[in-house]
């Protein structure tokens, strides 16, 4: 923009606005030829010169303006004090009733036993708590606690002589009279379900009915498979640490090639004797899958058949289940041969309660990892412990 031209334009514009004609304003201007058409354009804007608003228009706007101001200025409608009191009372009563009912339901349900009206509430509350728990080791502790509760409930049913359908978990033992026991409760197992002696010391899920005479009529018995997902923290020859859970590795354990500390893995394990978590397979998690290829341990591909009457607990991971079904039935026997302490099949008397944990130390002191709550067995014969 030419500053001289702009200044001359402004000067002429002021003259025109003060009432001079176009020719008078341009008189003596050196840029007159350029300024004239511009000033004509400005003068043409006078065609758009608006008139003042009609009085009626202004009056209408004024009335609307002041009415709105009065509305804004008026205080908000106030609920009388007795109305507020009534509302507050109703709200308070509602809150108190809700809290009391929740507390009462929670307390009552926590004391309930299988077959009681509020027992499903108790189970759902427990599952909700477990679902909110992060980390395999933490979930293992939760499951351990719940298993303890289930066995306590069954014990109470037995002491009361009630007959109810029950599901619980515990270490399988056998007393001097040859009676099978789980969580230290006597089991009456049909001939078709008789477990292999090699299962002594294994952690199993039991489903059946409490009998007034103080034992459990077993309808299914399943080896508990633990699915553990986590990062490898340590790798020693036969002892790995995954997500703070110690795992015993045997020659039969399927281990993906190329695993190293820091990698995320998915482990299927069984608990054998209260202090040993035996890994059946350790696979790289999906995020690591491309880095390693599965390597099968030949020892697991033997022709052993399933011990009669025992089924591995199913999981929701179909491919994993298929693999586990093959290996789990073999592991108890193999495990007895490779127990960390070098002993053969553990004696029942030497088997502490499965829920008991010890702080510090190795895998044997780590609480069990269980299936996720939604990994309830699909078969009616193999209900989970939760």
């Amino acid at each position: 923009m030419n500053p001289d031209l702009s200044a001359a334009f402004e000067s002429c514009l002021e003259k025109i606005q003060s009432g001079q004609t176009l020719d008078e304003a341009l008189a003596g201007e050196t840029h007159a030829a350029e300024l004239r058409p511009l000033l004509i354009s400005v003068i043409s804007l006078r065609l758009l010169q608006p008139a003042d608003p009609p009085p009626a228009t202004q009056a209408r706007s004024r009335a609307r303006f002041l009415t709105r101001a009065a509305e804004l200025n008026s205080p908000a409608p106030v609920t009388p004090w007795w109305g507020r009191l009534r509302l507050a009372t109703a709200l308070f009563t509602f809150v108190v009733m809700a809290v009391v009912s929740l507390v009462v339901t929670g307390v009552v349900s926590s004391q309930s036993l299988p077959g009681d009206f509020l027992y499903p509430v108790k189970i759902q509350v427990e599952r909700a708590g477990e679902t909110l728990t992060a980390g395999s080791s933490n979930r293992l502790v939760w499951q351990l606690t719940f298993d303890q509760r289930r066995s306590t409930e069954v014990s109470r049913l037995l002491s009361r002589g009630r007959r109810e359908s029950v599901t619980f978990a515990g270490t399988l033992t056998q007393d001097a009279a040859g009676t099978w026991r789980a969580a230290d409760m006597a089991l009456q197992i049909p001939a078709t379900l008789q477990p292999d002696p090699a299962l002594l010391g294994a952690y199993v899920d039991v489903h059946g009915f409490t009998h007034p005479d103080g034992y459990i009529e077993v309808t299914s018995l399943a080896l508990r498979l633990f699915q553990i997902g986590g990062v490898i923290e340590e790798m020693q020859s036969n002892n790995w640490l995954v997500d703070s859970i110690h795992l015993t590795i045997t020659p039969q354990t399927r281990v993906d090639a190329g695993l190293k500390p820091g990698m995320r893995v998915e482990v299927t394990a069984i608990r054998y004797a209260p202090q040993t978590m035996l890994a059946l397979s350790i696979r790289a998690a999906e995020s690591n899958a491309s880095q390693s290829q599965p390597q099968l341990t030949p020892g697991l591909l033997s022709d052993q058949t399933n011990p009669p009457g025992i089924l591995p607990t199913e999981t929701h991971e179909v491919s994993e289940t298929a693999e586990v079904e093959e290996t789990a039935t073999e592991m108890p026997e193999e495990a007895t041969e490779t127990a960390p302490d070098g002993s053969e099949t553990p004696d029942a008397e030497e088997t502490p309660e499965p829920q008991k944990t010890e702080s510090g130390g190795h895998s044997s002191e780590t609480p069990e990892k269980t299936d996720h709550p939604d990994e309830t067995p699909k078969s009616d014969e193999t209900p989970s412990g939760g």
Partner: protein, 181 residues
């Protein structure tokens, strides 16, 4: 009563102060909007809306100090732009159709006058927003450069540049409209 005192009272929604503000500024706002849109009914509605917006600003504490007139003119500019956008998306009516013929017995002269006015308005509407705003402030309100700069929140130099380019563009548009189709 000066603007500062008026504003202080208006912030309390004092009806006398509010009435004073309305009476003092409504004609200017109405003229500004009429210059931009050329329709008396739309001008009345938009002007009234501008003052209702002022109440909201006062109530909400958004107008604590400053030039009430500048605030009203800026708000009027926004309302006009909104109106243009509305019409762009929903072109139900043509503003020129509402041009009022001047009183008088010379209908031919009146028709020429109306035609020229439509031509100028059509050209003005083709300018950019800033240019339209400056021309409206300068020629509907007769604001001088300093007042226009204050209303725009810009420097006098910036206003001069905008104004000069607006007039150049207007000249070009008017010439184009004069050429036979």
């Amino acid at each position: 009563m000066d603007d500062t005192t008026l504003l202080t009272q208006a912030q309390r929604l004092d009806p006398h102060a509010l009435a004073e503000i309305h009476d003092r500024h409504f004609p200017a706002i109405y003229r500004y909007i009429l210059f931009r849109v050329g329709d008396v009914q739309v001008s009345e509605d938009l002007s009234s809306d501008v003052f209702l917006a002022l109440l909201d600003a006062l109530k909400g504490g958004k107008l604590r100090s400053g030039n009430i007139r500048a605030w009203l003119l800026a708000t009027a500019n926004h309302r006009v732009q909104d109106e243009y956008r509305k019409r762009y998306h929903r072109p139900l009516e043509n503003l020129e159709d509402h041009d009022q013929l001047p009183d008088g017995h010379d209908l031919e002269a009146a028709a020429d006058h109306a035609h020229n006015r439509r031509r100028v308005r059509s050209a003005v509407r083709k300018l950019n927003e800033d240019q339209q705003h400056v021309l409206a402030l300068r020629f509907s309100q007769e604001l001088n450069l300093e007042e226009t700069a204050r209303a725009l929140g810009r420097t006098v130099s910036a206003v001069k540049v905008i104004q000069f380019r607006a007039v150049q563009a207007l000249r070009k548009l008017l010439l184009e409209e004069s050429e036979p189709q």
